[in-house]
């Protein structure tokens, strides 16, 4: 922890998020008569902050690897009740845009510990990750169930912890059910989106994935399969068993490669 040395740097908007000219210390505001007074007020406010908390925020150090943490339920068009831990797509999607756009970010590590969730939201996140031009590595910890599977395989390279599990099961309906053939066809279509995405972005065949989906005798309350650690690798869904160390090492190697390729393009 950094200890306060009695010096306050002026607030300079380390994230570059403030609109231009809005900073209190920017030269544009210098002709303002109230400026000195305002600054004084600022100083005293900062002093108060430090007095109350005893710590000062660390100088902003930038990491070239950013991590996207997807935990709990993947929340889509409907807000889930308060007791759910959820990852919202309105947070993740703009973050992915920012990652793609930011010149200092060179790679993304996707950390997954999810129980699945909304199909549309999950597929949206998965498509965004898959279409990033920067190197992406995913790491499944704990669980990467249901809609977590397409998100895990969306990264260019995927890891799974030895104890982590992935549940593959059919999509069931929530909400209104019409007992007409169209309902079945609609569900089949939704499921096809997931199956196709997983087959396209990993080494598993779609027929094999469907086989795992409809296997009986593995799950107590459902049909389907639970894959643990290296079983997911054996089936070709995930590339390698590993943890955070191997994931970062792989990502760094991919970033090196990416830099070289970009350098070659420029020449």
């Amino acid at each position: 922890m950094t200890q306060w040395n009695g010096y306050f740097p002026p607030y300079t908007d380390p994230k570059g998020l403030m609109p231009p000219g809005s900073q209190k210390n920017s030269p544009k505001n210098n002709d303002n008569d109230d400026n000195d007074q305002e600054q004084e007020e600022n100083e005293s406010r900062r002093a108060k902050t430090v007095k109350e908390f005893g710590t000062m925020s660390l100088p902003s150090v930038k990491s070239n690897i950013h991590s996207l943490v997807i935990v709990g339920q993947v929340e889509g068009h409907v807000v889930l009740p308060n007791q759910n831990k959820a990852t919202k797509y309105e947070h993740i999607l703009p973050q992915l845009v920012a990652i793609e756009q930011h010149p200092k970010i060179e790679g993304v590590l996707v950390i997954l510990n999810t129980v699945g969730g909304d199909v549309e939201a999950g597929l949206a996140i998965a498509e965004m990750i898959a279409s990033l031009s920067k190197p992406t590595v995913s790491l499944v910890l704990g669980g990467g169930h249901s809609i977590g599977v397409p998100i895990a395989v969306a990264a260019s390279y995927s890891f799974i912890a030895e104890t982590a599990s992935m549940t593959i099961h059919p999509i069931r309906i929530t909400g209104q059910i019409l007992t007409v053939p169209q309902t079945f066809e609609y569900l089949e279509k939704m499921q096809e989106r997931v199956v196709r995405f997983v087959a396209q972005h990993s080494k598993i065949q779609d027929t094999r994935f469907r086989e795992l989906m409809f296997r009986t005798g593995e799950l107590a309350r459902d049909i389907g399969t639970v894959l643990i650690g290296k079983e997911a690798v054996k089936e070709g869904i995930i590339d390698e068993v590993g943890g955070i160390g191997s994931a970062i090492t792989k990502l760094r190697a991919m970033i090196q490669e990416y830099r070289q390729r970009k350098g070659d393009e420029l020449q």
């Binding site: 998020l17 991590s67 007791q83 990652i99 993304v108 909304d118 249901s146």
Partner: protein, 88 residues
């Protein structure tokens, strides 16, 4: 909406009266970083989760989960978003 999850739906959607037991969550900027805050009162709460992709943001001691924060009202004239980020 189709939920694709092994979690039973009864666990995801609880009865309304049970829901009141859980505190309201809001999002706010703390030290320039977007965080999910659980409300404990009209103007105070504690940090539940940091919504950032920058791993170094998680090293800020002020942003550790459970830290109490106070919401601050800010006058709207020439208000940069940063005013909201300053903690009281």
């Amino acid at each position: 909406m189709i939920l694709y999850t092994p979690v039973q739906l009864e666990l995801i959607f609880r009865r309304e009266d049970e829901e009141k037991k859980y505190p309201e969550t809001v999002e706010a900027y703390v030290n320039g970083v977007l965080a999910v805050i659980k409300r404990t009162g009209l103007r105070e709460g504690y940090i539940e989760r940091v919504l950032s992709t920058d791993p170094y943001d998680f090293l800020q001691p002020d942003l550790s989960p459970g830290t109490n924060v106070v919401f601050k009202a800010v006058a709207c004239q020439n208000t940069p978003a940063a005013d909201f980020r300053d903690r009281l």
